[in-house]
Amino acid sequence: MSVTDTVGPPAGPASASGALGSAAPAPPARRKRGMNAGQRRKLRTGLLFISPWIIGVVIFIIYPVAYSIALSFTRYSGMEAPTWVGVQNYVTAFTDPMVGKAASNTIFYAIIAVPLGLIIALALAIAMNQNVREVAWYRTIFYAPSLIPAFAMSFIFIVFLNPQFGVFNQVLKIFGGANVNLLGDPTGVKIAIILMAQLGAGNAALIFLAGLRNIPKTIYEAARVDGASPLRQFFSITFPLLSPVLLFNLITGISGSLQVFTEAFIVTNGTGDPDAGALFYMMYLYKNAFGFAELGYASALAVILFLVGLALALLVYWLSRRFVNYDVEAG
């Protein structure tokens, strides 16, 4: 910050709109890098207002991320001081069969749950945006399951899928299926958890709904006049104009699926069984940290997760630059 500013008058509406400034070679108060007193005051006020966030970023993000990276090179049980072990935790992580298992479970989950979740959320958003009189009811109903906490939803599913008395088996029976214990099967338990998560699509749906509302109605009117079918309207107007919102939901969806924990923890009563079928990455990390008191190793696992998440977000963002459309601003 330059200190060579001339002390100008406080930036009122008149001095703020200095359109002439660019024409003159270097009027002292309008130099690009310098700030006049008004701007400096605004900067100070602005920073003051956002100061809780700045403090929060330092305490809850910068410090813990740095500390996590440092801990990942140590052996640390939480009691005595951490001892430096170099990259040993990372070597262990890449050879630990349980990490492989947890990673493949998590990838299985993400590959199915993320696209499925986007489709369901988009369908719900379109339903929530229908011009019918009772639409407020549909919005409430579609959102309601998002209010049910994951732990309670897990209890409901345990009852639902119970091999002895669950509704699921009753429905299977109607279609002539045999009795199955979905939660007793390593793949079944993952599928059950994926289905359970879909009931919480209301949150992503509301974000899609916001995007749908931002598409100017006139575009649809013009398309209808030109004779475009509803399907054509969807793929030529709705989908491209929704792409920024889609990107947001995609990234948060991926990030959420890398962290799937609560449902698996409760459905399997903290074990991740049968056959580690529901041992997701986050659960294994939790077990190492708080079950086995291997905080150093758990930190290495967390850093790996962090890097994978970051790489995926960057990849999605890079891909999106080709597909995401920011052309139309809301009308």
Partner: protein, 306 residues
């Protein structure tokens, strides 16, 4: 919470008039819609509604069944003898009221703190024009995508050193410092206030603090309701936070309390009691949502998402 029930300023948030039937029967371009054009949409939505109401319905029905009826196959769609006793048993079989009180203390504090702090931060990003503001806002957005597990262990370590594990503080205090998603949401909303209006107030000698409470706060009411509901749901339903920080039963929340009840009785869980307890857990959220539902959905959708 009573301050939330103010009437929203209709002049700033346009287009919220009581719609009549005539309006719904017309398309955007004014042509009349035939009754069957919405029929398929309605059928699809009713089917979806049934699917989405199923878990809630099943929770209530199971909570009202007797042990014998719950164990019956095929399961009954309606309970034969309604057993309200399950609710009484659920509340007395575990220190339900203690758990409830802990959850309530955490949630109410978190909601108040996050509404206030996020609103002040969002005001700084939306209404005051300072150099570097928009660049710093990208940093806010970037933190949205930070996987939270990477901060888990250092945070636990920090709270443990401060001697605050097994207290409610680790679950409450972080709400004082804002959260990227809420700041983002509120900023979108505050951006709609015409800048000349704020400048006029400044010329009249109003301080930023006055403008924040007198102009911006009432305008952002729908968005603030959204933040309040999101943070209430998030905090009331949080499982991992209490699991890590609250090992002592005296400070446990409903989410951990119920899971403990279930795993202690793993051999012989009374699922009807568990369902009854679960229903009592979500009841406050359901009530909150039904009361503020209109503001809530408006708070997200009108602010826009760009």
């Amino acid at each position: 919470m009573s301050t939330m029930i103010q009437t929203p300023p209709e002049n700033i948030v346009p287009g919220r008039k009581k719609a009549n039937a005539e309006q719904y029967n017309r398309r955007a371009d004014g042509t009349k819609r035939s009754w069957h054009s919405t029929l398929i949409a309605r059928i699809v939505m009713i089917i979806l509604s049934i699917l989405f109401l199923m878990p809630l319905y099943w929770m209530i029905v199971s909570a009202l069944k007797s042990d014998q009826e719950l164990a019956k196959f095929p399961p009954t769609l309606f309970p034969h003898n309604v057993e309200f006793g399950n609710f009484v048993k659920a509340v007395t079989a575990m220190p339900f009221l203690q758990f409830f009180a802990n959850s309530a203390i955490i949630t109410i504090s978190v909601v108040l703190l996050s509404v206030i702090s996020n609103f002040i931060i969002a005001y700084g990003f939306a209404c005051i024009d300072w150099p570097g503001r928009d660049k710093l806002f990208y940093v806010v957005i970037a933190t949205l995508f930070l996987p939270f597990p990477v901060t888990l262990i250092p945070m636990f370590d920090m709270w443990a050193r401060l001697g605050l594990v097994n207290t409610l503080f680790p679950l409450i205090l972080p709400a004082m410092f804002g959260s990227a998603f809420y700041v983002f949401l509120l900023r979108q909303f505050l951006k709609q206030i015409p800048q000349p209006m704020l400048d006029a107030a400044r010329v009249d000698g109003a301080s930023e603090w006055t403008i924040l409470w007198r102009i911006a706060f009432p305008t952002a009411m729908p968005a603030l309701t959204t933040v309040a509901i999101f943070s209430a749901v998030g905090s009331w339903n949080d499982f991992m936070g209490p699991l890590i920080y609250l090992q002592d039963q005296k400070v446990q929340t409903l989410s951990i309390g119920l899971q403990t009840f279930r795993s202690v009785n793993a051999q012989d869980v009374s699922f009807n009691q568990l369902m009854a307890a679960s229903f009592l857990v979500i009841l406050p959220l359901l009530l909150l949502f039904f009361i503020f539902q209109r503001y809530f959905i408006r708070g997200i959708t009108i602010g826009g998402f760009k």
